[in-house]
């Protein structure tokens, strides 16, 4: 994992400022990566236009992930690039996957919404809103049965609060005291629907309480607050009390790369973008005596690292056509017969 604040006095107290520089770096890397994803699209090099950028949500990703441990597992929603980067993803392989290239995490078959990596505990991003949530119940069962001490975290958006499977999953996690955490990245919007247009009950964590979980909401502006809240929730889950954490943030841009958000006002956007955890950390770091130069260097390193991902992705190849029939089933198992082969056999009947 690339970022984890190393020392922390109390699990749910404010994290020491010495960690902030690392958290800042991670947040900057994520934002820069997402900006590059946007460029990939503009260049016509992304696989499709279903690219959901997590700009504005960096402290949710970095804050929660910094409270996770090696061996922990997680699933994400469709807006999951930042989360996986915060868990240590190789940005080259991510960008290649987003471009649909065979050097990507999933050999170019998955794309932006279907990135996974078993080694890093990533049990998969999902293009079905809510689709990845119940998997953490299963991963939690596995961890509990094996006594591995691992926690499994489901990341999803406020939109997933509409999906019944979330409540089924929370109920099971509570019933079985599983090491499981539900993290709702509440960026206030699900496509063109504001959270209060999707529910009358906007204090989302109250639902978790009603199912017997620990529940909390944290504002995303200060990444250290997110770290602290996440640490509390994850530690409790590791000890057998599953929890739910809503991280209140703002979706800075459109739903997907092409969406210009005509359904919300410029005022709202300007206001919403004030909730910028990177700017906030920058200010705090400056106040704490870090120089502009030092911070610029971090930004520059992120830019250089992420620039390279585009080159990597573009230089990579799309998957070979014969990859198409692989991996429907495990290697060596009977795979579906290609259509042409079948048709040719049928036509060659005499």
């Amino acid at each position: 994992m690339s970022i984890k604040p190393t020392t922390r006095s109390a699990p749910s107290g404010k994290v020491s400022n010495t960690d902030l520089i690392g958290l800042y770096r991670e947040m900057r890397r994520i934002r820069t990566f997402e900006e590059r994803v946007g460029e990939l699209f503009v260049r016509g090099q992304s696989a499709g236009s279903m690219l959901h950028l997590s700009i504005g949500e960096e402290s949710a990703a970095v804050g929660v992930c910094s409270a996770m441990k090696g061996g922990d597992t997680f699933t994400t929603h469709h807006r999951g690039h930042g989360i996986f980067l915060a868990r240590g993803a190789d940005p080259n392989r991510m960008m290649a996957e987003i471009a649909g290239k065979d050097t990507g995490y999933c050999q170019g078959k998955g794309g932006s919404m279907h990135i996974a990596d078993r080694g890093l505990g990533h049990l998969g991003a999902n293009a079905i809103v809510g689709g990845g949530i119940p998997a953490v119940v299963g991963a939690g069962l596995a961890a509990k049965r094996r006594g591995s001490g691992a926690v499994s975290v489901a990341f999803f958006g406020d939109g997933a609060m509409g999906q019944g499977i979330l409540y089924e999953s929370m109920n099971m996690a509570a019933l079985w005291s599983l090491p499981v955490v539900f993290v709702c990245i509440n960026n206030q919007w699900g496509m063109g629907t504001r959270v209060d247009q999707a529910t009358r009950a906007t204090v989302l964590h109250e639902r978790a309480l009603a199912f017997g979980l620990k529940g909390d909401t944290v504002d995303s502006i200060d990444v250290l607050d997110v770290v602290a809240a996440a640490q509390g929730t994850i530690d409790a889950a590791r000890a057998g009390m599953p929890g739910f954490l809503a991280v209140d943030c703002y979706r800075f841009f459109g739903h997907a790369r092409k969406d210009k958000s005509p359904y919300r006002s410029e005022e709202e956007e300007t206001d919403g973008r004030k909730k910028d955890p990177i700017k906030q950390a920058h200010t705090e770091l400056t106040q704490a005596g870090h120089t502009q130069q030092e911070l610029d260097a971090i930004d520059g390193a992120a830019a250089a690292e992420m620039d390279a991902t585009i080159d990597f992705a573009i230089a990579s190849n799309p998957p070979a056509q014969d990859a198409m029939f692989r991996d429907v089933f495990a290697p060596g198992e009977p795979e579906p017969e290609p259509l042409r082969q079948r048709l040719d056999r049928i036509l060659a009947r005499d």
Partner: protein, 324 residues
């Protein structure tokens, strides 16, 4: 005649129907303010208000379930699933409730609802946003199934669906929304449940529906240059299924190909091939060829995506082989 897109024709159908029938309302994700993920319902909220363009939370099972209840209570809901790929979570409401209510309850309550959705490949949308799942619906007793391929049908099939007394699943193709045609919407439409013969030829019959109609027509043009003349049938509705039109054409030609974007095994192509084989047994000179989606998930990578479903050139290639 006016130029119109498939998308606009769908919108026009909804608009005209909603003016005519006060009981129609649309319920689904982003159908109102946003105007639909593919723009079909754009602007309708201004015309009909938010009560008749009901933006919902992301709750597919309850969207379909609420539509079932509204239909039982005498309304005529149009539930929208943004992608047919989300039908899995609604299949209890669709197949155990909507499809069975009239029958289980001895005929006393109907469920006159339309489930509008879209499917198919072509936008690098990946395994969970590119499927063609019409076979699940076709297999389920009690559901009607319409899949328009043309602008004209986008309008008329939707208008007709909105007059059916029973649940209709209405599947559009994401690759067709921008399709433009000259249409005269006032010309009398073909009857609900009747297939359309788009081209008449003596050599073989291609039976298809939805976007693959255009692939079939494209292939037929090319084949004609070789002197191979194909009859191309667009089924328009898969339930009811107009088998008589197929039978007639197959009896003329003795050679048939069925063409579907959905996965091959136990899919729509299987049903069509089985029926042609059993009903036209003595007329067939060759096995019915099934050209359908490969039995694999769809990749996000454009090359693999395109390779996963039949293309016009595949149709040409196998039509030629069939004629040898």
């Amino acid at each position: 005649m006016e130029k119109m897109t498939y998308r606009d024709a769908l919108r026009q159908a909804l608009r005209d129907a909603m003016h005519e029938d006060e009981d129609i309302f649309i319920i689904g994700e982003e159908v109102g303010r946003y105007g639909g993920a593919y723009g079909v319902t754009k602007g309708l909220i201004d015309e009909f208000g938010p009560e008749r363009l009901l933006d919902t939370p992301i709750s597919e099972p309850a969207i379909v379930g609420a539509a079932v209840g509204a239909a039982m209570a005498g309304m005529r809901p149009v539930a929208e699933l943004m992608y047919v790929d989300f039908i899995g979570m609604t299949m209890d409401q669709l197949c155990n409730q909507a499809a069975k209510i009239r029958y289980m309850f001895g005929g006393q309550i109907g469920v006159p609802m339309v489930l509008r959705t879209q499917g198919g490949t072509g936008r690098s949308a990946g395994a969970q946003h590119s499927q063609s799942l019409e076979a699940y619906v076709m297999h389920t007793p009690g559901l009607r199934l319409a899949m328009p391929a043309t602008v004209h049908d986008a309008y008329h099939l939707l208008r007709q669906a909105l007059k059916q007394p029973d649940p209709v699943v209405f599947i559009e193709h994401k690759g067709l929304y921008a399709l433009q045609e000259d249409v005269d919407l006032n010309a009398p439409p073909p009857a609900w449940g009747k297939a359309a013969v788009h081209r008449q030829g003596d050599d073989l019959v291609i039976v298809t529906y939805s976007r693959q109609l255009h692939y079939a027509l494209e292939a037929a043009e090319i084949l004609a240059q070789d002197g191979i003349e194909a009859t191309v049938i667009d089924l328009r509705t898969l339930n009811p299924l107009d088998f008589e039109t197929i039978r007639h054409a197959v009896e003329q030609t003795g050679k048939a190909m069925v063409l579907s974007e959905g996965p091959l095994t136990a899919g729509v192509a299987a049903e069509l091939a089985a029926r042609i084989s059993e009903e036209c047994f003595d007329f067939l000179e060759n096995p019915v060829l099934r050209l359908a989606g490969e039995d694999i998930p769809i990749s996000v990578s454009a090359g693999l995506e395109a390779g996963s479903v039949p293309s016009p050139s595949l149709v040409v290639e196998y039509a030629r082989k069939l004629m040898k």
